[in-house]
């Protein structure tokens, strides 16, 4: 299989996974202005939960992913409702809290699942390769691309087409006006936080056949989510989508074409873009 084809497919697949991870972060930050540094931990926790359901109780892969997402969403919701809400507007306290919780989650995972990496098999129907027109594609990665697109469309429908979405957009644009209009902003916040956390947890489980699950997964993935959100602009779903694919391509082609610069392939473009356009590619200038 030609190198370029492999890299392209992987870029899109990895981008899809990143979208699932970072869409949540982007919404949370766009709406609530909380830099949620636990997001990598949600990803890892979703993976560990899902893998446990599959390994210990023989639950089917997709079902395990959904249950894991729900569990992580609940955890996220509780953290938002009982802790983060009291810190509204206090950015530094939010950073302290989210980092503190990420330490706790990382250590808890080490205690519960030990340091050994866990490998999860993709669902049997999606294992192996598919042949299309003489070219070979890893089936599971194609599945991830399709799944990410489906979820992207669903999220877009949610944000643009429903009342909840309208409220979210209002809250992102101007939270005070939104309150004046009678929007229950606190319920909205909890809902969005749950949604974001759940998406991250789902992404973790979905990604595990490719990335496996190991201590340190959270700190490997969080910087990537941050880069996506910065490139794409916070609060913008389209921005997250484009940003995810940009990062996916940078990551794959950058490492392959410029192996000497492998450590810089993500952050150098990020610095350049931020210096020229601090609000990201699709974000709005902060008020």
């Amino acid at each position: 299989m030609s190198l370029w084809l492999v890299l392209t497919v992987n870029s899109i697949a990895f981008g899809g996974l990143l979208f699932l991870l970072s869409a949540g972060f982007s919404l949370i930050f766009g709406l609530m202005r909380i830099p949620n540094l636990m997001h990598g931990s949600f990803f890892m926790l979703g993976a560990y939960f899902g893998a446990s359901f599959v390994m210990w109780w023989g639950v089917e892969f997709w079902l395990a992913a959904i249950i894991a997402a729900v569990l992580v969403a609940l955890l996220g919701g509780m953290l938002e409702r009982f802790v983060l809400r009291r810190l509204a507007g206090q950015e530094q306290a939010q950073v302290l809290l989210t980092l503190g919780v990420s330490f706790m989650i990382a250590d808890l995972c080490l205690m519960a699942w030990s340091g050994d990496p866990i490998s999860v098999e993709a669902p049997a129907s999606l294992q192996g390769v598919a042949r299309l027109g003489g070219l070979i594609f890893p089936t599971y990665r194609i599945a991830i691309i399709l799944l990410a697109l489906v979820i992207a469309v669903a999220l877009w429908a949610l944000i643009d087409g429903t009342r909840l979405g309208a409220m979210i957009r209002a809250g992102v644009d101007d939270p005070q006006m939104a309150r004046i209009c009678g929007i229950r902003v606190s319920y909205l916040f909890t809902t969005v936080f749950c949604l974001g956390a759940g998406l991250a947890g789902f992404a973790g489980m979905i990604g595990s056949p490719i990335l496996s699950i190991y201590p340190g997964l959270d700190s490997d993935m969080l910087p990537l989510a941050l880069v996506v959100v910065i490139l794409g602009g916070t609060g913008s779903l389209l921005g997250s989508l484009i940003g995810s694919f940009v990062v996916g391509f940078l990551y794959n082609f950058g490492q392959a074409l410029l192996p000497e610069l492998a450590y810089f392939v993500l952050f150098l473009p990020m610095v350049l873009i931020l210096v020229m356009r601090p609000q990201g590619l699709f974000g709005r200038r902060a008020p």
Partner: protein, 323 residues
Amino acid sequence: MKRLPWALALLVLAAVPLWAGGSFYVNIVSQILIAAIFALGLDILVGYAGLISLGHAGLFGVAAYTVAILLEHGFSHSIAILAALGMSLATTMLFAVLALRTTGIGFIMITLALGQLLWGLGYRWIDLTHGDNGVSGRARPLPFGFSLDSADHFYYATLSIFLVVIAGVAIMTGSPFGASLRGTRDQPRRMTALGFDVWTIRFIACVMSGMCSGIAGILFFYYNEFISPHALALSASAEVLLMVIAGGSGTLLGPVAGAALVVIMKSVMSAYIERWNFTLGAIFVLIVLFMPEGLVPGSRRFARFLWAATKARRGAAPARSGG
């Protein structure tokens, strides 16, 4: 009488080698002071300028590496230290010019990215830095012929530098510049309207912050006699940020308290608590829940509350007061 607590603290610090209980503990206090210098530097940005940076470990590391590499190539300590301070200044100015294009999350992200670039350089510029093998130093400087090899001597050198730094920060924050810096944090638009050059004020704050990080980096290298890219990792930047916030940003003693908390948990308590990482995270969460402004302001508030409560009790039962 207001100076009494400070004098007592100074006395306690000066006597550390006497009461700490061995060279290991003296070294721990040295490590706390080095971390405190680093945290004080970061606090200039986080607490007084309102700019959160996740890349300060890069500035810290640049200074440490400069000393290490120059020493390895045979330069004297004085030249190595001066060059490290110079590199620190240059790198910080570059950081500041790039990062100050934005504030808020943009600033956080640019500093994160710049820190990561420096970290990557540490790994990849193998000819210079030996990659993850790091650079070792075999000797400590001899200021005025005074040997710094023993834990006690190194501690006194570190203590002197710490006192200079904390005095400097205190003077800065009390000065008109400090006031205008806080102004740019609280009301940037009003400051601009009043004719202050907000960018330049922030730039100067960045430079001061970077120099403190550089000083901490130089001390760190001499203390460990080793530097490797791990000191520039994102986790190191996150750790110093946590020290500042947990201790109380925007206060003089907050960063010191935060540094003490983290160093003691990591280096001392880890011998007694196996899951110290979890415990540290839990402590941070508790601080956020009960003292979101930080340990130092929170303790002051708690102390004032206790004082007011005891006063109220005495006031409510005048017959019992002994006079």
